[in-house]
């Protein structure tokens, strides 16, 4: 398998958010700023990478009927690792992301990749897939977060770009998330068609 293609498909062609329409909850929930999107994206990428690796390594040891629960336990463990490490060394990010960190365990992307890919491919392929999809996810989150932060508060990565007097607060609130994502998907669909 061409590992470069395997890696890069996560960005546009098989972008989990814009194309596969998975992982919607964190996508809408933590993208009120670019930094939050980045943090969540990287945390999810870590879990994706590690769980893909472990699942690929032990796939022949797990009886078929219990594979989903086993995958879930493996994923949940790595999510807990992320929780603990973030709490210890990145407490403010941990607070901003809040509930959505433990919710990585039910991010359809992670379980989906483990089931559809890692359980059927070798270690290297699975790892690269995890990394590529994870970074594609991160890309989507930062894009969405950046747009919402810029339009909604005039800042980007906490750096003020333009004055607060010209912001449209709606974009950092719930409706803004839905609307910006809707338009982004429409745009990406158009780009893909060309």
């Amino acid at each position: 398998m061409n590992q470069w293609k395997n890696f890069s498909k996560g960005f546009i062609k098989e972008n989990p958010v814009f194309v596969l329409l998975l992982g919607m909850c964190p996508t809408l929930g933590v993208t009120s700023s670019a930094i939050n999107g980045l943090g969540m994206g990287l945390a999810t990428t870590f879990v994706l990478l590690m769980s893909n690796i472990v699942v690929s390594l032990i796939k022949s040891l797990i009886p078929d009927k219990v594979r989903i629960p086993s995958f879930i336990v493996i994923i949940a463990s790595f999510v807990t690792v992320v929780q603990l490490v973030m709490q210890a060394y990145l407490p403010s990010l941990y607070q901003s992301l809040g509930l959505f960190i433990p919710l990585i365990v039910v991010n359809c992307i992670v379980l989906g990749r483990a089931e559809a890919f890692a359980s059927k491919n070798n270690l290297l392929t699975s790892a690269v897939d995890g990394l590529g999809i994870g970074l594609g996810f991160t890309f989507a989150l930062v894009l969405l977060g950046g747009i919402r932060e810029l339009l909604g508060s005039g800042k980007l990565f906490d750096i003020t770009i333009y004055s607060e007097n010209y912001v449209t607060l709606l974009f950092v609130l719930a409706p803004g998330a839905f609307i910006v994502l809707g338009y982004l998907i429409a745009i990406i669909n158009r780009i893909k068609k060309d």
Binding site: P69, S77, L84, A88, G98
Partner: protein, 201 residues
């Protein structure tokens, strides 16, 4: 390599093994990070205390005092410069925020005036309720500013409820919750300030 057969024994053993190994590994990571997590929490707390009190050399032992009738208790931190107490910080909270829980570190000097406050945790609406950290310390707007005022000297409520403080525009609920937290902090302070300064004599 063929997958293992899905016999009942195999399934149970696998599930048990996976869970056991996972739990053990997590226990290990938990041990590793336990201290760092405690440290991070304390650091955040101490930084907040330093922001809300006049300069002090050391913090006395903190303890929790009950407030109100809801069964809640708040943690108070007396601060000393040498032998003299210079102020008391109270880690207060309220569950009446627009999005629920708000926690605030409030600092009172020895005369009962609010020396400072620092919002620690909240999930209030960005751009609206989240402005509370700056709103209530705005020295250019004396009707909003709570710093330097002693809660016993004015009506510590939003103007809508007949009080003297202007609420954040379009965020009355958050403002009310904020004040609720500070009022409880003051209650904790008042109930104990004499006990503490009395003890140091």
């Amino acid at each position: 390599m063929a997958k293992r057969e899905s016999t009942f024994i195999n399934m149970v053993v696998t599930l048990f093994a996976v869970t056991f190994i996972a739990a053990a590994a997590l226990g290990f990571v938990h041990d590793l990070t336990k201290d760092a997590i405690e440290l991070a929490k304390m650091k955040a707390e101490n930084e907040a205390i330093e922001k809300v009190l006049p300069a002090f050399e050391e913090l006395g032992e903190s303890w929790k005092v009950p407030v109100g009738e809801t069964g809640d208790s708040l943690e108070i931190f007396p601060a000393y410069q040498g032998d003299e107490m210079v102020g008391i910080a109270v880690k207060t909270f309220t569950n009446n925020g627009f999005s629920g829980y708000i926690s605030i570190m409030a600092g009172f000097d020895t005369s009962g005036k609010i020396y400072g406050y620092e919002v620690l945790e909240h999930e209030e609406t960005p751009g609206l309720g989240s402005k509370m950290n700056e709103w209530f310390r705005n020295t250019e707007k004396p009707n909003q500013n709570v710093i330097g005022k002693n809660p016993e000297d004015f009506r510590f409520e939003v103007t809508k409820d007949g009080g003297d403080i202007d609420a954040i525009t379009a965020s009355t609920i958050t403002s009310r919750a904020f004040i609720d937290a500070l009022v409880r902090a003051f209650e904790a302070y008042k109930g104990n300030v004499n006990a503490i300064s009395g003890a140091t004599e």
